[in-house]
């Protein structure tokens, strides 16, 4: 290895201004709003939302709570993804674990729904390609998230990719509960399973697409 003074000379020679730091929560908010708008527009372009979903939200506190929990879990996941992009902002692994725990609590609401569903199971609003739609809307969202994360310096690149993928899957996965049929088994296999797969894909892509520090 070269001499340390030589290395310091090389690093400081011709030093230019560093790109301006965008605050992680601003980037997370930007991504979350952009992704939500994109997913809603894309879903509506394919097929309208399930008739009466707004009334169901008002009439069933449990359904509203499930939906709210999904929104919070997705938003928290993307917040964590960008927070771990700044070294020294708390423990990345702990935050990632907390975020995954919150997503698991959200998913477990539908597991519980297998025995006691929040809404009367119905085929109303059935979408032919909901499984593929979650993938199609989630994949560009995941890539956009990873591109934004490249502006920061995540040390746990797989972890940042994992939670970005989880958030990218959670948004279409959640909106499908308002757009597609409500049957907990279908939700788990067709809406949340692709979201989980996107999280795993994010964990694989993170180390490839994010800068090694």
């Amino acid at each position: 290895m070269r001499n340390r003074s030589e290395l310091i000379r090389e690093l400081s020679a011709g030093l230019g201004p560093a790109p301006r730091l965008r605050r992680p929560h601003q980037l997370a908010l930007l991504w979350w709003i952009g992704t939500s708008v994109f997913v809603v527009i894309a879903m509506l372009a394919v097929q309208p939302m399930r008739p009466g979903f707004a009334g169901q939200l008002l009439a069933s506190p449990r359904f509203a709570a499930e939906t709210l929990l999904g929104i919070l879990a997705g938003a928290f996941a993307i917040g964590v993804a960008f927070a771990v992009g700044i070294p020294g902002w708390g423990s990345p692994r702990r935050r990632i674990a907390l975020s995954l725990g919150l997503l698991a609590v959200w998913a477990s609401a539908y597991l519980y729904g297998l025995v006691d569903p929040a809404l009367e199971p119905s085929m109303l609003g059935k979408r032919a390609l909901c499984f593929g739609e979650v993938w199609i809307y989630g994949l560009p969202s995941l890539l956009a998230g990873l591109l934004l994360l490249r502006r920061l310096a995540p040390l746990e690149r797989w972890g940042a990719g994992l939670v970005t993928g989880a958030a990218a899957g959670a948004i279409p996965g959640l909106l499908m509960q308002l757009a597609c049929l409500y049957i907990p088994a279908h939700i788990l296999t067709h809406h949340l399973a692709p979201a989980l797969a996107l999280a795993l894909l994010g964990a694989l892509l993170g180390p490839v697409l994010l800068r090694r520090i």
């Binding site: 003074s5 290395l7 690093l11 400081s12 730091l21 605050r23 070294p87 423990s91 310096a153 520090i213």
Partner: protein, 192 residues
């Protein structure tokens, strides 16, 4: 999280250092090469002291300091002047130390088989370095210390290390993994 991230006791010297480093980093991010060189010189010394106290006078230290300086350079845009400099810096140092420790055994074995990469390897500064590393790693459980010394400091393969320690390869792999987890905790215990 590491102790430096919680509320550290008031220390005027450390506060002055913190303010100086933060100011230099801000100026460096605006393109001031002199401030940057001074910052890297000073934190390079602090990193060396921090690592030496944990790993002893191993040849690993200088490699690690330089890796850390490179990492600081690559991550410099992520420094937020509104936050403290030390947690930012030491998070990078801990991460790079673990990263380098993980890669170290592999690189030594590769060089033993294929010769050194592009640069000649500096002669072993001190043949007792592994012993002193053992002393520095005394905070680890003996079986983990032995596993790390054999694989990461002496450069043995997992097979060789397992044979020397009289355990299975799976057990050795597990000891190395757990040893690295313990080193992670050791590094997180305080910054200096």
């Amino acid at each position: 999280m590491a102790s430096e991230d919680r509320n550290p006791p008031a220390d005027p010297t450390r506060d002055a250092e913190e303010a100086r480093w933060s100011a230099w980093m801000v100026r460096a991010n605006e393109g001031d090469a002199d401030a940057y060189a001074r910052l890297l010189e000073e934190i390079g010394g602090v990193m060396e002291h921090y690592l030496r106290r944990r790993f002893g006078a191993s040849d690993f230290i200088e490699d690690c300091v330089q890796e850390c300086l490179l990492a600081i350079h690559r991550a410099r845009a992520s420094y937020d002047p509104a936050r403290r400099f030390r947690p930012w810096m030491f998070t990078i140092v801990r991460h790079k130390a673990i990263d380098l420790l993980r890669r170290r055994g592999t690189r030594q074995r590769y060089e033993a088989v294929h010769g050194a990469a592009e640069e000649p390897v500096a002669p072993m500064a001190d043949p007792t370095a592994p012993l002193r590393a053992a002393e520095a790693l005394r905070g680890l459980a003996p079986e983990y210390r032995e596993a790390l010394l054999l694989t990461k400091f002496e450069g043995h393969s997992l097979d060789e290390a397992a044979r020397r320690a009289g355990v299975s390869v799976t057990a050795m792999k597990s000891r190395v993994h757990r040893g690295i987890q313990q080193v992670r905790r050791l590094l997180a215990r305080g910054e200096d």
